[in-house]
Symmetry: C2
Subunit: 338 residues, 2 copies
Amino acid sequence: MGVVIPLEDNKNKQASVKPLVDLTMSDMERVNQLILSKAGSDVQMIPEVANHLISSGGKRLRPMLTLAAASLFGYEGDAHVKLATSVEFMHTATLLHDDVVDESDLRRGKSTARTIWGNQASVLVGDFLLGQAFRMMVDVGSLEALDVLSTAASVIAEGEVLQLSVAKNMETTEDDYLQVIRAKTAALFAAAAEVGPIVAATSNANRKALKSYGMNLGLAFQLVDDVLDYGGSSSELGKNVGDDFREGKITLPVILSYRRGTPEDRTFWREAIEGGNSDGANLEKALGLIRRYGGLSDTIARAQHYGTIARDALAPLPASPWKSALIEVIDFCIDRVS
Amino acid sequence: MGVVIPLEDNKNKQASVKPLVDLTMSDMERVNQLILSKAGSDVQMIPEVANHLISSGGKRLRPMLTLAAASLFGYEGDAHVKLATSVEFMHTATLLHDDVVDESDLRRGKSTARTIWGNQASVLVGDFLLGQAFRMMVDVGSLEALDVLSTAASVIAEGEVLQLSVAKNMETTEDDYLQVIRAKTAALFAAAAEVGPIVAATSNANRKALKSYGMNLGLAFQLVDDVLDYGGSSSELGKNVGDDFREGKITLPVILSYRRGTPEDRTFWREAIEGGNSDGANLEKALGLIRRYGGLSDTIARAQHYGTIARDALAPLPASPWKSALIEVIDFCIDRVS
């Protein structure tokens, strides 16, 4: 007579990134070593600026995806460590440039590099890290991986410019917004996951599965981030609630509330976002409207939709601890808001 | 009885970039087509910003170097066109970021992109062009060329950060300064020239020759630029005389004049450059000191020194119109100040 553990138990448990962290631990140590070494330079300011951001406690989800996506197919060399480091450098370079573009003072609860070393250093150290990322990819020598990651670099920048063009335009549709986050966030998740099967030299079907997993995980991740900006507590987030609102950033909770609102509500949104009336009192009103029209819960529902697609992308693969860990990460990303 | 043309005739003639322009004309048409196509995007702001700078009348010396350095060894494919375009995109991305870093309002006599579209667009469109540059290199498929150009991308950014660290420090030596311009300017000239023999699949000796030619040409080019900043007329330069001085930039004419000056002169330089007293009256005084201590003529002499090294780097190669054109470019770069 065995003990029957009901399946629901798993559902009730909070999903965790821990299985992925544990499985990739020894490879992530190699990634962290490589990060320190490749962010080094005789020009002292470079490691100072780079390490400020690198050591600021990001989850390093993207490089873990690359490691897991290679190990999932039995890869055992060191190409995945170099590509994972490249992916993290691309991400760090983007953050350095983003903080300049958004004029942000705080990231993950710490002062941004630009407030300490200035915009100049942030732009240039970002450029340096991007250059180092490409050198590591070249060192791996896979033209396919280079193709995937260099295309992602273009697409990310294109997405950021697109976001700039739609900024403060309340007529932005959900589809417009999806195009932005697909490019600026999900493309790097997709590339990070896709280069795993590439270095593992597995089938094209596996490559497409991991790319789809990464893309949809990235969409879910960004949508949940957008919800957290209106719902998380300041200490958890490392930034203040309503930062997006104050910066006039249009995210899905705002898009839904605007489109579902009354003409008066829409006037409020236009004055707040397009007109820059985004002070404390208006933030309170915005939060009220977002709640009234289900802006947060329905954004979470959209995130769950993409999470399901990510899960199904991996469905044909045989069961393994790696597969389970990658699937649990989907729920982990979404559970951050529940 | 033949007509003897004295060798000196050639020396008296002003050296010109025209032979290089003529020889590369049909390939440069392909480069220009590719520039337009690869700077294109559905995101309208991208081609707007990119074309503003791309169409602003730069000489496109760097892509011509790549084309000539490949054709010199009989190359006839299209890889050199793609790499030449990559090189120009890397250069354009650097200029976009430089104008943000230097807070410049004018380049080549036109408003900079950042004054029209803002710092944000300049940073991001620069990132996009860099991404597109890498995609074209990947498309060529030469890991050696990718290695050379991705290393150059890192080195350029490192040089820019180094320049930031030594900025406004009057104890900067000539060697410090050479390290900066070797990285921020000469490295791209060297890479542009080196990828020519790489795609032409010629000997390692030829590759080293062209790299050395490019590196030393780049040093000469930058030193002459520094002289022009204190000596050219505003309309020729597209910027005002003394821009470097006003921005507190330390270049070789200043380094020489500072080190050769009296203690009083050195106090003047420190107050002007480190203390920011760089208004019109002080510019006049600075120009006087630079002239008194031979700051311009001796910087030109240094440029000629590197020009000679560049010429000797090509000496072992058989005579050809390509070789002559590349050598004449050295004199052309230096003659800009004479």
